[in-house]
Amino acid sequence: MTKSIDTSIYAAVSEAIRAEAQRILSDGTVTAIVGYAAARRKGSAQPIVISSADDAAKLIFTPACVNNLAVYLTKAKKEIPKKGKVGIVVKGCDLKALSGLMGESQLKREDLYLIGVPCAGVLASTVQPATELTSDSIAPKCTECDAQLPGGCDFVPPQAPLTPGQTRKYAAEIARLEALTPAERWAYWKEQFSKCIKCYACRQVCPFCFCEQCLCDRNKPQMVDTTPRPAGNTAWHIVRAMHLAGRCAGCAECERVCPMDIPLNLLNRKMAKELKELYDYEAGFEVNDKGPLNSYTEKDDQSFIK
């Protein structure tokens, strides 16, 4: 049954973001702010970088504010000015990615001014931007969200999001896939990967894909076939899932942007589930210097040594 989701706080949240942005740009706390602005299509939003207090009025927060803006602060995106502190509008899921990037020495907390968003959810990529937010139109990641109120930010509007209990869409799909035989599972992924066109949208929006030269772009030697064919497609998505294990914070941007609807976040959620079971690790708001796969403790599972 479709349940509507209350997003009435977003108007007040937008107001609060604008006022804070105006203040911190005017008093010089930050040199620029990465946030969301309305775009042409009805109900749509797009990322914007503002550096003048006059532009603070452009900032919004709506169910169409789907992007994880953390990507604009990574090495892959050198165009964003880095002189002085930069403000950024973050949902809880985005903040987890920023915390991960701080842990990996890609960003320093003192260089950022975090404007947290109390978030009741954003829209799935499959619906038009003007769609009302409901349990059907909500992004799958939001059905499993434990981070509606980002912690440790410099500013968070006072409104509290209300969301009804929801069916955890990834957990359900992972359970379905786990129940299949390996051959059936392979057939499922083979079909999904066959749609990949190697547009690399998944990589380009991923905050953790910050390598200045991706292994998959190298051709001396060629590590992964670059053509959009079964071997190269499968290699690419598996390499990426493994590289993100223990790092991915679940923003699901890869899946949202895939023009071919490949459910990429399922791979990442499955890896996160394994990490939870093996190392009791989950991506959160705290900054950890070492992720579970680059640290060792005696409590680690040793059962594979035979």
Binding site: R40, R41, Q46, N67, E79, A201, V205, D217, E253, M260
Partner: protein, 334 residues
Amino acid sequence: MQKFISEQNLHTLLDKLIAEGTRVVAPRMNAGTPLYEPLKSASEMVADQLPRRSGKEAFFPLCEDIMTYEKEGQKVTLKDIDPARFPETVLVGVRPCDAAAIPVLDAVFSWDYKDEFFLERRKKTTIVGLACTSADDACFCTAVGLSPSETRGSDLFLTPLEDGGYACESYSEKGEALIKGHLELFAEPGNSRAVSLAQPQTEKFDLKKVKAWLDEHFEDSSWDSIATRCVGCGACAFVCPVCHCFDIVDEGTEKSGKRRKNWDACGFWKFTHHASGHNPRDQQPKRYRNRIMHKFKYYEDKFGQTLCTGCGRCIRLCPVGIDIAQIVEEISKK
């Protein structure tokens, strides 16, 4: 030639073609995503959704082999792919924005170099267009001079009728041949009216004015404000009906392998990255500028055509909401 064909007879026609060995390509669902793909049966066709990728790949595939090599001892054998082996194809249910793209592509693929892969497929393919009945606010075919009933590029054009079936009109010898070869499946045109077609809401662009501005503003601060947000993927180019850049790679082992042609995209940082390490388009806004320039200036300069059919795919699928219709409209008002 004007005719009528019922939904059922259209399916019969397609099944007959498939049985005769003709490759029939039409919108079908692939793991939940509508794509133009070869049909095994006419019942697979889904006419009510705009395929996620355009129809260009029936002529210019996402990836194709162009040569093979084999090495045995000191002997190296190179073999060209023979385009004569490409099958006769009927491309059906093509949206006007996708059909109109094909004559636009003819210009570049038959210019100074004749691309026999494209041209041979083109020669062997009959395009059956389908009038468009639904538009969203990313659609802007009307802004670039096309429309939901545009027949350009179609050999045969179908318009859905209120009482079911399609009005069917041929626009080329190929289209006429398709009717004449299966005359028993077509009837004389009746009195049924066409269903109401899509109505994209965008105003017509003044493309002359757009080009005039582009002619003078290769360097302009607006490129930064337009495209700083671009994250450098290839989604826009890969779903575009007229983007046609490609890359060539060799894949295989020391003993054997293939030379392959893949789609490329000007959004990629590697796009014009020289072997020296220099890149004339070293920042994302410069790469995005190339996208706009190529579509609304360079292609006009070279071939007198606009390299955009207003399908809106790049708008719907841009990860960061870059809206080419808005950008071009703003340029036209400068």
